[in-house]
Symmetry: C2
Subunit: 348 residues, 2 copies
């Protein structure tokens, strides 16, 4: 136990600076930052969705290679994506931050700037949190609260045998982007073959890694129209996250490897390093796309509505009985068990 130090006083100043910078009116807010708890009114007939994510330096990000603003942005997206996967609307944000010595106040503000930038277009309000010194390492814990109409949510447990499996956007880009960043940062010179990746593809993949989107509109559409039987966001990678749906729903799945939506850039990248783009798509985490299941009877409706709304969705497989396990058809036409490899969360 130590007497209140200059650091503590600096901490209070920092909290005040953050409060000033991000204070804004929020719907149904009674009290934001500055009391023992934030107080919010609840409209009748809503469900509340609460998600908590922890991001640890050296595990989920590396301060040597990632800008604080990017870390903040991606931390917010990880949580927004969880709310998207529930089909809910994100509302209120709480941030707990342990700050190591040497991490400047300027960097803390940049981190918050990134967090709030990701939240701004969704009208999410920062309502509180906690700040502490850290003996070692930066720790960010985020709690995000969202709402949906009562009775409407996308769970992991509703997939039924025969349901189609869909994914939004493209998969594998984030992992390709991360590998490009790591290669760029490593002291080894890039091998010759890498030169054949066009600059625009490289840029696209790195951007997809550093500035992913949360598929909130897609999730809300699926939820509000009751189109999906189950949903999850792709944070661990398609193979790992599909497994979560199968476990919670008590089913198996067959994925068509040829059907996976893989971007031109990701295919080009895979070619330059003689990797299978399907492997990148299956193993790559942090695409933050939505994986969802829906009854075959809704196929035409789903595809028509998605087209009309400008949502990119791709049908990639079908739900099977549990005993089938999780299998994937590869380019050679063979059906094989889906590899269990997925990647740990870690961005740079």
């Amino acid at each position: 136990m130590a007497k209140r130090t200059e650091r503590t006083i600096a901490e209070f100043s920092l909290i005040r600076a953050i409060t000033r910078r991000f204070r804004r009116r929020a719907r149904r807010l009674i009290k934001g930052i500055g009391d023992d708890a934030a107080v919010i009114t609840s409209p009748p007939s809503v469900w509340w969705h609460v998600t908590t994510d922890l991001l640890v330096e050296g595990v989920h990000f590396d301060l040597k290679t990632a800008a604080p603003r990017t870390i903040g942005y991606r931390a917010a997206i990880a949580n927004l994506s969880d709310i998207a996967a529930m089909g809910a609307t994100p509302r209120y944000l709480f941030i707990a931050l342990a700050i190591p010595r040497g991490f400047a106040s300027r960097s803390v503000l940049s981190l918050y700037d990134g967090l709030m930038e990701a939240c701004r277009s969704h009208h999410v309000a920062l309502l509180g949190g906690d700040t502490s010194a850290s003996g070692a390492g930066l720790f960010i814990s985020i709690t995000l609260i969202g709402t949906s109409a009562a009775g409407h949510a996308l769970f992991r447990h509703g997939a039924a045998v025969g349901d189609h499996i869909y994914v939004t956007g493209t998969v594998g880009d984030s992992l390709a982007g991360l590998q490009l960043l790591n290669e760029h940062r490593s002291s080894r010179p890039a091998s010759r073959r890498r030169r054949f990746l066009p600059a625009k593809d490289r840029k696209f993949l790195i951007e997809r890694h550093l500035r992913p989107s949360a598929r909130l509109k897609e999730g809300q559409w699926l939820n509000q129209k009751s189109l999906a039987t189950a949903a999850i966001d792709l944070s661990d990678g398609l193979s790992g996250d599909l497994r979560h749906i199968c476990e919670e729903s008590g089913v198996g799945a067959e994925i068509d490897g040829d059907a996976l939506p893989i971007s031109v850039a990701c295919r080009a990248y895979a070619a330059t390093c003689e990797t299978s783009p399907v492997d990148l798509a299956l193993q790559g985490g942090e695409d933050y796309e939505l994986l969802f299941t829906a009854p075959p009877s809704l196929q035409a409706t789903i595809e028509r509505q998605a087209r009309r709304r400008g949502f990119q969705i791709t049908r990639i497989g079908v739900i099977k009985p549990r005993r089938f396990g999780i299998q994937i058809t590869r380019a050679d036409g063979t059906l094989r068990p889906m590899p269990v490899t997925s990647y740990e969360h870690r961005f740079s």
Copy 2:
């Protein structure tokens, strides 16, 4: 980025073990642990109270000297106390945990045992969170959600000039207990004078430090009966927390040093080390008592109702205009500015 390791697999097993151990039915719960977010229904006409606390190894606790169960217990009380200070009822708990190498699964479960032990009598349900490896140090981030009737909450900003200032229980015990623990653990032999502290006083003070209570019933009483104009819990110490009330309410305060409720044990301890018990009471953090203000017209009602309910409350001062600042009358009858010293959160 690393392939999924044994640690990650162990992490999933750990989460499953925790889920099994603490899974129970909660009111208004649609989905607990095991989806992208927890989902809760909201009754009409309630206010939601959300508080987040971060506890960092080496800052708030020391794993060398504190048992994981005690750390968990105290972490829960810190959050329950915030909800108590709002006059709300605690409901749902979310825990983010970064676990360093060498912190055994057994210890993680003990930590959760302590957390849930503190919550059990209040029927708080563990609904989710996140677990990660930590490169260095144990980090615990807790989000606790409570509810109150709409329109009813105890804020920091309502104190008015002339209001009486009250505190629940006794103050200074936790700091005295911490000093006793630290002395016991230090390699230096206890000085002779310490021998005069009776064992029962020593035990009482250490217990008050290791096993504090959150004054939930007192807070709910004050809130439901609309008796208090402002309230805060004593986590930083009476002098620091009174300052928060004064700042948020735009007022000053006069405290009667002689009136502070100081336990017999705390006075005995202060005598053995020639410290002023009033200083212990003002500076000591983590008593988790409630400090509140109320109009003089309610004095008789408050004191009668408290007596009937078995709540210990003590009137310790009066709210003054802002220009008065915060002053305290000492034993010699002089009025002096309240020392600004308070202690950082840190328990051992």
